[in-house]
């Protein structure tokens, strides 16, 4: 069946704003449930044939990521400062195209654990933060994690990590073949008494659901997959949504406002087409899946006389509690070649420090993984220690690249009301809309946990017999690709934006589901959870619609 085309005069059942990790799942679930769905995506639609192995363009020229000239952003560390325009790299970094950031992600697909959902109850209050339990449990989300693994496509080895939570089914595909970096992390970690295990990756390790297996070209992180092996919604959920004959994905459609009527219900969305002409699309319900930065911006830009602080914002929490996941690197050189430019970035993960441990003296949990990438430019630019950035010492490091690897630490970010997305009061984008302003300063415990994980990574590399080990900087965040927490779920309308089914507390036919829904940050790698939430939300929203409860 060919994809449906809706007319502007049609009133669709659902407008979904954003076609990424969450929006793609939402489109598929709602259209397969029998509803008419229009997905509005601000960026273009690429095919596998459009993607290239061009590190300069993809990493340093924004080939498929957000453009700061047309979509400027500002950043500051605290509300006391005037936010400065970001010039080099977006603070909120994402891929505006059909499939969203699931097109360029690295494809690490960790589930959250039980503890992520009820850690506030277990550990108690953390002063100065909005640390809270989720309104759902791991057990409630588990069937949807399994659905992600089987419907979207994840490779891995069930039961390999002794720290993993329970699961109802094994992975549908075996893990990716181990790389030398994975072997060395496993060797060092086992010597340390830890429990490395094969990385769960949203990459087809074998042909899966009509898609090719990975060709091990190595261009995953920051790139689109030419083989359709990376399980982006571009290749998985969106074609399945379109195949229902009830879903249209409309690219180059930049949503500027959600409109509401006198009764306080959403009536549809205004958007700009590729020629900057404004349109209005009528809808019975609106589902916002625009990512943890743009979702808040859209809700705030949609303020009107009835909702002067923005839509769904009676709590004041829209845009607040922004979290990233901390990241810290250890570099290592070995005697023989690893050739890390080949194949998917990550093949081994260690989760021995997943739970927070009061004995460490600070809150936090996380994991480490083996990797390198992107290659070879970014490594050469960022990995060398300060005394070897040019000259003969730098060149000898460049020549050692085949023998190099990285251990990356991924950890928690605490939610703080002061860390937020809002609208810049002065700067406008190329459509005359307020620019995105980010305010962010890491909690000291987040940086302490990042250093802790970095130290464990260094120990693993020493134990594996590295010839040289050096640590990268652990600095305060100035942005990132994991955009979490800014429209959190919760039972209390005073301290959350949406309920446990992702319906906004304030507007009955307005739903929000993406990274912004997350109450805590997890330990890194949020896309798996974002998609599980989207499957769960789609399931419940379809039931509400069928029962006339929207």
């Amino acid at each position: 069946m060919s994809a449906r085309k809706y007319k502007p005069t049609d009133t669709v059942d659902f407008v979904v704003v954003g076609s990424g990790a969450a929006g793609g799942v939402m489109a598929r679930e709602l259209s397969q449930a029998g509803f008419e769905v229009l997905v509005l995506e601000q960026g273009p639609r690429f095919t596998a044939a459009d993607f290239r192995h061009d590190e300069l363009d993809y990493w340093f020229n924004g080939a498929i990521t957000n453009k700061l000239d047309t979509n400027p952003q500002t950043f500051r560390k605290s509300a006391a400062e005037k936010a400065q325009r970001v010039t080099e790299f977006p603070a909120a970094w994402y891929a505006p195209n059909v499939g969203g950031s699931s097109v360029h992600f690295t494809a690490n697909f960790w589930r959250l654990h039980d503890v992520d959902f009820n850690e506030r109850s277990r550990l108690g209050e953390i002063p100065g933060t909005t640390f809270a339990d989720w309104p759902i449990t791991y057990d409630e989300l588990e069937p949807y994690y399994t659905k992600v693994e089987w419907e979207v496509g994840v490779s891995g080895l069930a039961g390999a990590s002794p720290f993993d939570p329970w699961r109802s089914k094994p992975y549908p595909m075996p893990p990716m073949p181990v790389k030398s970096s994975g072997v060395l992390l496993e060797r060092g970690a086992r010597k340390m008494g830890w429990h490395p295990y094969p990385a769960p990756m949203a990459i087809a390790s074998v042909p899966y659901k009509g898609r090719s297996a990975c060709a091990h070209c190595g261009f995953c992180i920051g790139f689109g997959c030419e083989m359709q092996a990376k399980s982006s919604t571009l290749y998985t959920m969106i074609p399945e949504a379109e195949a229902t004959g009830r879903c249209e994905v409309r690219p180059l459609s930049y949503v500027s406002r959600i409109e509401t009527n006198a009764a306080g219900r959403a009536t549809g969305v205004a958007y700009f087409d590729k020629d900057k002409r404004e349109h209005f699309q009528k809808a019975r319900a609106v589902v916002v899946c625009a990512n943890g930065a743009e979702t808040s911006r859209l809700l705030l830009m949609s303020a009107n006389a009835k909702f002067p602080d923005g839509l769904a914002n009676s709590s004041g929490y829209v845009g607040k509690n922004l979290m990233f996941n901390t990241y810290a690197e250890v570099n290592a050189l070995f005697e023989h070649e690893l050739n890390e430019f080949k194949s998917a970035q990550v093949t081994r993960v260690v989760h021995d420090w997943y739970d927070s441990d009061p004995q460490r003296g600070f809150y936090g949990g996380g994991g480490i993984d083996s990797r390198i990438g992107p290659m070879p430019i970014a490594w050469s630019m960022f990995a060398p220690p300060p005394d070897r950035t040019w000259g003969a010492g730098f060149k000898s490091l460049l020549e050692a690249l085949p023998r190099a690897m990285i251990v990356a630490g991924h950890g928690t970010s605490l939610p703080l009301e002061t860390n937020r997305i809002d609208l810049d009061p002065e700067l406008k984008d190329a459509w005359g809309l307020p620019a995105l302003r980010m305010t962010y300063k890491d909690h000291p415990d987040d940086l302490a946990m990042a250093r802790f994980l970095q130290d464990r990574g260094a120990e693993a590399m020493q134990a594996a017999g590295a010839l040289e080990v050096w640590k990268g900087p652990v600095a305060e965040s100035t942005g990132g690709p994991h955009l979490l927490g800014t429209a959190r779920m919760g039972n209390d309308p005073k301290t959350s934006v949406v309920d446990k089914y992702h319906r906004s507390h304030d507007i009955r036919n307005l739903f929000v589901c993406d990274g912004s829904s997350m109450v805590t940050s997890g330990r890194g790698q949020p896309t798996m959870t974002i998609q599980a939430l989207a499957f769960r939300a789609g399931d419940h929203i379809a039931q509400f619609a069928k029962r006339g409860e929207i």
Binding site: L56, A160, S161, E337, L338, E340, L401
Partner: protein
């Protein structure tokens, strides 16, 4: 695109003939498209016969600074990889909105160098050792930071941007622009015996 003999040949060239036939058969439609990319990517279409923005004297200094960042020697460096052409080409093309800013930074660098070394016509005329010593003074300036950024890009970006001539940069860092690989990828995974599961009591349950 159909599975033509031309595409098959291109793909097999691009993949170095290391792929299993079963995998090839299962993946053929994507493989053909990817093969075309690999072929396009391998092409070096850059014209290194002239500079588009820099004067000959400016290009001499840019080349000299890049050659300090990645020196020549037993193996090729920035000079042999044509980094100066990359820097010229992107400042005249891809990033031309920054072109004048770059030239202004270079002009300022040259003026300061002339003041520091009176009697020497330009930076490139200093001895290699004197160049190194002078850059030590300058290594925390934005201009030098920009030069380092552009030198790394010029060494390792696709040859079509003007640098990485003859893929010398990629050869230096051991990167091979082959489109597809099969394990083993390196020394350590070749000797890996397989994942050994943990005893059930090995860890805690979170």
């Amino acid at each position: 695109m159909d599975a033509s003999g031309t595409s098959r040949r291109k793909f097999l060239q691009a993949s170095g003939g290391t792929l299993g036939m079963a995998w090839l058969a299962a993946s053929w439609p994507q493989v053909v498209a990817a093969a075309e990319h690999a072929h396009q990517m391998a092409m070096d279409s850059a014209d290194r016969s002239k500079f588009l923005l820099l004067s000959a004297a400016q290009a001499r200094d840019v080349d000299a600074i890049a050659s300090q960042i990645v020196p020549s020697g037993a193996t090729p460096g920035a000079h042999e990889a044509g980094v100066v052409y990359f820097i010229d080409h992107v400042n005249a093309g891809l990033w031309k909105e920054h072109g004048q800013e770059f030239v202004a930074g270079l002009t300022d660098f040259q003026a300061k160098c002339a003041k520091h070394h009176p009697g020497v016509a330009q930076f490139a005329d200093l001895s290699f050792g004197d160049q190194t010593a002078y850059l030590k003074h300058m290594e925390h300036t934005p201009f030098f930071g920009g030069m380092r950024f552009l030198t790394v890009l010029g060494l390792l970006a696709l040859p079509s941007y003007g640098g990485n001539a003859g893929k010398l940069g990629w050869k230096l860092v051991g990167f091979v622009d082959q489109h597809a690989w099969q394990p083993p990828f390196g020394h350590y995974d070749a000797e890996y015996a397989g994942f050994v599961p943990y005893a059930k009591t090995a860890g805690q349950q979170s």
